[in-house]
């Protein structure tokens, strides 16, 4: 089974009388790859991630993980399978980086259980993988935005899930930190993890992803490989601004077209 995540004709709205946020959404996400969900702000990308996570339930349609419908997973199994890095995570208390990343082990603990030696080792490994073990004892409220995003990613690494959902993981980050995070995700995909990230920045998506999903107004506009999805026509229509796609030395780059 190639597609680890699949949505079939999913419809979603927040309340009975609210407009539809997602309509007739069908989607296949390949396993062990990085998939980028692209689209303008407010197009339902975050809602889609919450549906994949199981936090929101579609009122129509089905979500399948590794071929099995969402509802057949227990809460515990689900949290051992899918991890999330949300777009905004406010942490009102001064957890140390280590304490916070250790929370990623929660899906493996019984209700009254505390993390043990093994959980501590896995947490230390997660910090090393993200290259932030030197921050271990710092307070999460006292580190930079880029470091904090790496801390969130360490937490899902400690969660050891096969699927990672990341909501705008590179927004507000400088190029160095974008590079670190996207390279880390590519490395994870090589180790068999499926990463799904949303972004409104096509170049970040091109840098990291193998598979592309273009969303517009709660619908899928295009999905597939880079050449099928990242085209000037698609992007110009969706971002409602003239866009060129340049290819040099095998690199693809999306730029706003000043000449039109």
């Amino acid at each position: 089974m190639d597609n680890i995540l699949a949505l079939e004709q999913v419809y979603f709205r927040y309340g009975e009388d609210d407009p539809k946020v997602l309509s007739d959404l069908s989607l296949d996400i390949p396993g062990s790859k990085v998939t980028a969900i692209l689209g303008p702000n407010g197009t339902g990308k975050t809602t889609l991630l919450h549906i994949l996570l199981g936090l929101l339930k579609p009122y129509n349609g089905e979500v399948r993980i590794a071929g099995k419908p969402h509802r057949e997973y227990s809460k515990r199994t689900l949290s051992q399978t899918i991890g999330l890095v949300p777009q905004f995570e406010s942490i009102p208390f001064n957890f140390s980086v280590f304490e916070y990343v250790l929370l990623g082990r929660s899906p493996y603990l019984k209700p009254f259980q505390l993390p043990g030696e093994e959980d501590i080792l896995i947490t230390e490994d997660a910090l090393v993988s993200a290259g932030i073990s030197h921050l271990s004892q710092k307070a999460v409220t006292e580190i930079s935005g880029g470091e904090r995003q790496l801390v969130h990613i360490s937490r899902v690494l400690a969660q050891q899930t096969r699927i990672l959902l990341l909501d705008e993981p590179t927004a507000h980050l400088d190029l160095e930190n974008q590079n670190r995070i996207l390279t880390l995700l590519k490395g994870m995909a090589n180790k068999g993890v499926t990463a799904v990230l949303t972004t409104h920045d096509p170049n970040a998506a091109i840098f990291a992803a193998d598979h592309f999903v273009l969303m517009n107004k709660g619908k899928i506009a295009a999905q597939g490989e880079i050449n099928q999805v990242i085209t000037p026509e698609n992007l110009t229509e969706i971002y409602r601004t003239p866009i060129r796609v340049e290819k040099t030395n095998g690199f693809t780059m999306v730029v706003m077209d000043k000449n039109q």
Binding site: L78, S90, P92, F95, S96, L103, P111, Q159
Partner: protein, 333 residues
């Protein structure tokens, strides 16, 4: 702080609490302030009676009260993701006092009835604060919850005022006035027996679920992705800790500030993770309240109401913490 260090510190804290507890048995104004010589326990029948029937139940209640207020404060602060809440700020204490007053006036003066009524109104006040804060249209979560808590508290304290006004000045009023001041001078073994199950249930649940409390302090989507059953776990934790607080409030009256300041000190000393900060807050809170009660009954010839002392010390410490090391409140959310 790693686990080995924390275990050592805990042993130190427990020993400290034990010493405070044992010393407090002898602190008081009989036969002369501030101290009852231990030999009198053997020689003086009255001293023995006093320690067994008055001081011991009072001390144990002070211990449970401090532990419970601190544990509830920690749980509320983390579950509401708001470092500025405590049972009193969310209307729970005033609600419980109102419930106790209703019971004294119209229902029954049996301790269990008073406690159940206090618990019911304490939970009601919390629910009101919560729903009101979701309806307020401006300000962040921290501000909205504080505003709602202030309004709900005022509502219930007005209710208590009305009840005072219509109470019989000879029989009912003195008992009611007691709630507003807060104190442990009338606590008996019988009161303690009725409070004990509520207090222990609250303390054990907060202790056992302390790792889950950490999860609930995260964003909803993150907590969900880590396997938390948000609604169920919040309801369990809030119900047991608020019931414990309300039951104790029914015999102690309104004791403010302990539930706010002790969790802050505990997090400052032991880190934010509830794995350590909740048990530490229980120990610190127990010690703090016992010492405050020792002062309440020895400083002056007449007893100072405990609630006044905890407010004075608590507010003083709070001001000190705010201006010296800063209590961080994030503006978002």
């Amino acid at each position: 702080m790693n686990r080995a260090t924390f275990t050592r510190t805990s042993i130190f804290l427990i020993s400290g609490l034990l010493i405070v507890f044992l010393a407090s048995i002898f602190i008081g104004r009989y036969p002369a302030p501030p101290w009852l010589p231990p030999r009198l326990l053997v020689e003086d029948q009255l001293a023995r009676q006093l320690v067994l029937n008055l001081r011991l139940p009072r001390l144990i209640t002070a211990l449970l009260l401090g532990m419970t207020l601190s544990a509830s404060g920690s749980v509320l602060q983390m579950v509401f993701r708001n470092p500025l809440v405590e049972p009193g700020f969310l209307g729970v204490s005033q609600g419980a006092a109102f419930g106790a007053a209703v019971s004294i006036l119209w229902l029954n003066r049996h301790p269990l009835v008073i406690e159940l009524s206090a618990t019911f109104f304490g939970l009601l006040a919390l629910a009101l604060s919560y729903f009101l804060s979701n309806r307020i249209r401006y300000g962040g979560w921290v501000l909205r919850l504080i505003l709602s808590g202030v309004a709900v508290s005022a509502l219930f304290s007005a209710g208590v005022g009305i009840l005072k006004y219509i109470a019989d000045p000879l029989t009912e009023l003195p008992e009611l006035t007691f709630w507003l001041l807060g104190g442990l001078y009338s606590v008996t073994w019988r009161d303690l027996v009725f409070v004990l199950p509520f207090a222990l249930a609250g303390l054990f649940t907060a202790y056992l679920m302390r790792w889950r409390v950490n999860l609930l302090s995260l964003n909803d989507d993150t907590a969900f992705s880590l396997g938390a059953s948000l609604t169920r776990e919040r309801i369990i934790l809030l119900t047991v800790t608020i019931s414990a607080t309300a039951a104790l409030t029914a015999i102690s009256g309104v004791i403010g500030w302990v539930g706010l300041i002790i969790p802050h000190i505990s997090r400052r000393l032991f880190g934010a993770s509830a794995e350590k900060s909740i048990p530490a807050a229980m120990l610190l809170g127990g010690g703090f309240t016992i010492i405050a009660d020792d002062l309440a009954r020895t400083m002056l010839a007449g007893e100072i109401p405990l609630g006044i002392l905890t407010s004075a010390i608590g507010a003083g410490l709070f001001i000190y913490l705010m201006i010296s090391i800063g209590i961080k409140v994030r503006r978002d959310g």
